[in-house]
């Protein structure tokens, strides 16, 4: 009786969950598998094989993979240093590295646009030094830079969280047994920090793969990622069927990457 009443508490949430998580996703599938008149078709899914669609997908996969790798290579040594300095969670130094995570991401993109533009800050400095100006914005490199800048804190936080939970004695034991510093890092610390790395990689790779704002602004509307294609189908072309079908393909890639990552992740993520 009592537990039945307790379960009633979940009712509002269950209704919400079905209404705003389950039904919307079913609608995406519905639109993805039908044409404008509402009859079943696989044509929209097959559109991913068209050059204008698969090239942005491949480019997005490439740029987000590169950005994720850079984020990891930057964040792991940083977390190691913070750990070795005994900079605890909740200290001001740790706070400084996590803080940008809570900054509005568009304002951060604005900063890089200002820096990289043709008449932007970096080119202004180059001109002042009588050096030739560089074409920085509207290149894939600008997009990678934007992604790394936007998502780096999301890699730092989980890796740092798992690293600071590793027992000092484990590491000292490795040293006592004669392991060198690199051996200790690669054979002891790295394997122990896998859960943090997995959540860091997910938190960088998925938003980078699906972004359209970064590529739109730092790519000057000339470099299309899959996110831009989907956004245009909905906002500009109003072709919901094609947009939904491409979203389904995108979801497939997200699920694939998570399935791949979950093989390395034993427990829950390190976010909480």
């Amino acid at each position: 009786m009592k537990s039945k009443r307790m379960k009633l508490l979940a009712l509002p949430y269950l209704v919400w969950m079905v209404g705003f998580i389950v039904i919307p996703l079913l609608l995406v599938c519905f639109y993805g598998f039908t044409d404008q008149s509402g009859s079943f078709t696989l044509e929209n899914i097959a559109e991913i094989l068209v050059r204008e669609n698969y090239r942005p997908l491949c480019l997005a996969l490439l740029l987000s993979a590169v950005s994720t790798a850079i984020c990891f290579l930057a964040a792991f040594p940083l977390a190691l240093i913070l750990r070795s300095r005994k900079i605890g969670r909740g200290s001001f130094a740790a706070f400084l590295f996590i803080l940008p995570m809570w900054m509005n991401s568009l304002l951060r993109i604005l900063a890089w646009q200002t820096l990289l533009e043709r008449k932007g800050v970096l080119n202004g400095i180059l001109t002042a030094l009588h050096l030739p100006g560089q074409r920085l914005i509207n290149t894939p490199y600008a997009i990678i830079l934007g992604m790394v800048y936007d998502f780096l804190p999301f890699m730092i936080l989980p890796i740092y969280n798992t690293l600071s939970k590793i027992d000092d004695n484990t590491i000292n034991a490795a040293y006592d047994l004669g392991a060198s510093i690199p051996t200790t890092i690669f054979r002891v610390i790295l394997p122990l920090s896998v859960p943090g790395i997995v959540s860091g990689v997910t938190m960088v790779f998925v938003p980078a793969l699906t972004t359209f704002a970064i590529s739109d602004i730092l790519g000057g509307g000339k470099i299309f990622l899959i996110g831009n294609v989907i956004e245009q189908e909905f906002v500009l072309n109003s072709n919901w069927n094609l947009g939904s079908a491409l979203s389904m393909v995108l979801m497939l890639f997200i699920i694939l990457s998570m399935a791949l990552l979950s093989r390395y992740d034993s427990g829950e993520g390190a976010m909480f």
């Binding site: 009592k2 940008p100 900054m103 304002l107 909480f272």
Partner: protein, 264 residues
Amino acid sequence: MKKGKKLLENSYLILVLLFLYAPILMLTALSFNASRSRVRFTGFSLRWYREMLSDPAVLLALRNTLLIALGSALFATLLGTMAAIALRSMRKLSRNLVLGITNVPMLNADIVTGISLMLCFIAFRISLGFQTILISHITLNLPYVILSVLPKLKKSSNVSFEAALDLGAGPVYAFFRVVLPDIMPGVLSGFLLAFTMSLDDFIITHFTRGAGINTISTLVYSELRRGIKPSMYALSTMIFAVVFLVLLFVNFAPAWFSGKEEKK
């Protein structure tokens, strides 16, 4: 040798800090620049701040952003806490199913969540506007609330709640006096997480806002596509200052008030 290593480590930390903060500091400097120039600092001025604060579009967007963040965080905290409590008395199978679906908005790409919600609103004939942004943000916030409350519930045992009932407390009274104080830290951090998630969101808002309503994010996005106005620098500096102060307070105020209590 050891000194060299320390120097190397320090320079690496400083390098990353520079990478993270130099762009923000640059925006701050430009926001106080008297001219439009991005290269030369021609004098200190509050001109762009005045311009920003006299722009009704900016003020309206600020108001919308705060109302939606506060409203969605409050509602998500209420609904999510209720759900978390009920989840505990569910059977394992149904609990795992609910938790699995709950995780979807957190793990899925924002662009897909935004699109799916937009399709849903249009199918249900809910006109796009303030209310649809609010619903979407609540949906986005719920998993964060539930996942911060659940661990706290696991720690607080059911025994004290039942003891309160045996001692004659009504279930509601027992909840507010026994269970809620136990899980309050989780509820609070869930609320704050939800609030910041909503403040920061751009993609989901972009798809569910409809024409004619802006939050800060969507306003900045449309300004960026048109070319940057210096008043945007003033806006971002102001937002950064507020976020910095709020987070500083949330992270360190409890420690300051309870004396110099160091971590265990």
